[in-house]
């Protein structure tokens, strides 16, 4: 398989970090579709799947999954390097809910049959997943969700509505949090269900976001019949699993990925605008660079915890806060140095590396999705600092 790099997966972990970086870099540069570099907006599945299939074929789709399930089982530092190289080259983010969220959850909580059935289909790209948690009246207060699943024979009948479901219009499967016991305390009546999006009764309606892009959607469920076997874990124990999954999400959203990408673009933009000689910019840039290196160190510690097979504590929220707010500050600096160019809707001079307004807007919701910054701070105050309330 590894003809180009000439390195088998088992050898990747054995490489020293710099050789590993070069192997990854060479392979990306040789294989990444050039027309997909630095996409100004998040790509839809039909646009980005050539890259997904390339990674899948190479066996590099899931660097963090254990080897036995088709992942690369990379160590923490190498996972960071892998990410940095993708960002350096401006690789598109794929439809990765299966890779970063559902996969790890199934590996931990799924039955053997579920693992055997679903994981290979993520690896092959046959199943493209989306995440159906939020509802119109249940965002920060997710546990108040009302979409219901009622057992009828061998099937659950699902009714309700999800919203802000990223790339639901591209997905053929959705993982849902549903209410299965309306009488229990709100966290104790929730279950985790896997649903084929082609089941009758599902309607997907895209929502245009602030980027003017149809990235997230509303998803409606009208008497949707789902086989009982699609329940993951125990009935009414979905909240605990989802909480564990949220820590996978937070470590992903807290990874230096977005900041790495933005920092590289800031550098290119600063060169273009000729501001590197400006002492006030130099000071700002130095701060962003050192903040970024500190974020990487912090991230490395969390990856190390996972690597040892331990679970992450509530304090992983701080990683998400640091990353999202740094990403925002980097893009705010991009806007400031771009002067009037910041007003332009499209990348400057048609060069996708110089896209201050686009990146600035993309950075805005990072402090909202995956749990808002306010909620992350509440979690730390209560569960880590032990403050009352």
């Amino acid at each position: 398989m590894s003809v180009i790099a000439g390195v088998e997966p088992e050898d990747l972990n054995a490489l020293d970090d710099e050789s590993f970086r070069l192997v990854v870099r060479r392979w990306i540069e040789a294989n990444y579709p050039p027309e997909l570099r630095n996409p100004p907006k998040r790509l839809h599945w039909e646009e980005n799947n050539p890259w997904y299939f390339k990674l899948a074929e190479k066996g590099w789709l899931c660097p963090g999954w254990p080897r036995e399930y088709g992942g690369l089982g990379l160590g923490p530092i190498k996972q960071i390097i892998f990410t940095e190289e993708l960002e350096r080259w401006g690789c598109a983010r794929s439809n990765d809910h299966g890779i970063i969220m559902l996969g790890p959850l199934l590996i931990r909580y799924g039955s053997e049959e579920q693992k055997k059935h679903y994981l290979p289909k993520i690896l092959s790209g046959e199943h493209v997943w989306c995440q159906g948690y939020s509802e119109p009246n249940s965002g920060s207060d997710l546990a108040s969700l009302r979409t219901s699943a009622v057992l009828d024979g061998d099937e659950y009948v699902v009714n309700g509505q999800k919203i802000w479901t990223t790339l639901a219009s591209d997905a053929n499967w959705i993982f849902l949090l549903v209410r299965t016991d309306p009488t229990a305390k709100k966290q104790e009546g929730i279950s985790f269900l896997l649903v084929d999006m082609n089941t009758p009764g599902i309607t997907v309606r895209p929502i245009i976001n602030l980027e003017m892009h149809d990235e997230f959607c509303e998803v409606f469920f009208d008497n949707v019949r789902v086989p009982k076997a699609n329940l993951v874990g125990q009935l009414n124990k979905g909240w605990d699993m989802a909480k564990a999954l949220l820590s996978f999400e937070r470590i992903y959203l807290g990874s230096p990925r977005q900041s790495a990408y933005a920092l590289t673009r800031l550098k290119q933009l600063a060169e273009k605008m000729g501001v590197f000689d400006d002492p006030s910019f130099a000071g700002t840039y130095a701060k962003l660079r050192t903040d970024f290196e500190d974020l990487k160190s912090l991230y490395g510690r969390y990856v190390e915890v996972l690597k040892r097979g331990q679970s992450l504590g509530a304090d992983v929220s701080q990683l998400k806060i640091v990353q999202s707010e740094l990403f925002q500050r980097i893009t705010e600096t991009m806007m400031a140095i771009s002067a009037e160019n910041a007003g332009l809707m499209e990348p400057m001079e048609g060069n996708r590396n110089l896209n201050p307004a686009g990146l600035y807007i993309q950075a805005r919701p990072t402090t909202i999705y995956g749990g808002t910054s306010e909620i992350q701070r509440n979690i730390i105050a209560k569960n880590v600092l032990g403050l009352p309330g």
């Binding site: 910041a342 007003g343 919701p365």
Partner: protein, 351 residues
């Protein structure tokens, strides 16, 4: 009124004319469906709406009476601009005001008459690069970042040989779409017809100050929507406005708006009371720096306080953020104006 926010730094007469302008403008500038429909259209604004606004005297508000304007002060101009910003009005009233001031100073009458009547859309092409407050006077220089250039009928180009006019039909113009649904133009040099002499500096300062006021109006509107949302949206069985983390953020927004208003109105009153030259420019720089930076912060905070809905195109708060992204750097962004302020306003001994 006992709150400091209610104490304006200007006299009763001006307060009265400002009040009338505010009422008239508010009535004509609050149709969000119209604003949405015009975004990303060829011109980005409506010629008939522009003409109506001109007929209301908006383009000539600060133009001397002798030149056919209303001869009102900066207080009135910033009041109008604030209402335009509150309503996200895309018609280029501020750029047209800049052109009207320059034509009046040059003693030109014909094109000025058409401009004040709303028959001509005259836009001033003063800058040859990004991030400058100094107008180019080089007739051979390409002019950049002309707001709403796609709908211009004429361009006004300051040169060493005088104020040049170029009909849009003869212009070599390229436009690019902006975040707010308008456009910015790049104009290659052409055969300009000189219509007299004018010093662009003071008029550019007035345009910068009016833009600051436009941003102020936008901040207030976005914040009003956000406050209403904080007062209705429920999570965890409570109105989200009861969460102290959000209350403090809302207060921070309010403080930024108060500072912007204080700074903008101080600059307008200062100029109306006779400040000129460096003194006027320093006042303007302080106000535009504040407005440019605060509008971005406030826009971002309003999105954040709204949660997911704040990141949709359907929700108006985002329109204000996209407007701020476009206007904050026009006529100089925060860093540029702060640097100019420090140059023009040396620190006093006891400061």
């Amino acid at each position: 009124m006992s709150s400091a926010a209610g104490i304006a730094p200007y006299n009763e007469d001006q307060a009265e004319s400002a009040r009338m302008i505010r009422e008239s403008a508010a009535g004509h500038a609050s149709d969000i469906a119209r604003i949405r429909a015009l975004r990303f259209t060829t011109h980005g604004f409506a010629a008939d709406a522009y003409r109506e606004m001109a007929e209301l005297g908006w383009i000539g508000l600060a133009v001397p009476e002798a030149a056919g304007g209303s001869g009102l002060g900066m207080i009135e101009l910033v009041t109008l601009a604030e209402e335009l910003g509150r309503g996200l009005v895309p018609e280029p009233i501020i750029p047209a005001t800049l052109s009207a001031l320059l034509l009046a100073e040059a003693g030109e009458t014909e094109l000025l008459g058409q401009l004040l009547a709303g028959e001509a859309v005259v836009l001033t092409a003063w800058q040859d690069r990004a991030g400058t407050l100094t107008p180019s006077l080089d007739a051979g220089a390409t002019r950049r970042f002309i707001p709403m250039a796609a709908g211009a009928t004429h361009f006004l180009v300051p040169t060493t040989a005088g104020l040049g006019v170029l009909p849009a039909a003869e212009a070599d113009l390229v436009t690019e779409p902006t975040n707010d649904g308008g456009n910015l133009g790049t104009l290659r040099p052409g055969a300009y017809r000189s219509v007299g002499q004018a010093n662009p500096g003071p008029a550019l300062d007035k345009a910068a100050l009016a833009t600051a006021a436009y941003l102020l109006g936008g901040m207030e509107a976005a914040f009003a929507m956000t406050l209403a949302y904080l007062n209705t949206r429920q999570q965890f069985g409570k109105i989200i406005g009861t969460f102290q983390a959000l209350q403090h953020k809302a207060v921070d927004v309010k403080v930024q708006i108060a500072l912007t208003r204080a700074s903008v109105e101080a600059a307008a009153a200062g100029i109306d009371n006779g400040a000129t030259g460096d003194a006027a420019s320093a006042l303007v720089s302080r106000a535009k720096a504040r407005a440019s930076e605060a509008s971005m912060t406030v826009g971002q905070m309003c999105v954040q306080l709204s949660g997911g809905i704040g990141y949709t195109d359907d929700y108006d708060v985002g329109l204000y953020l996209r407007k701020a992204m476009t206007l904050a750097p026009l006529f100089g962004g925060a860093a540029l104006h702060r640097a100019r302020f420090m140059k023009l306003s040396p620190e006093t001994e006891d400061a």
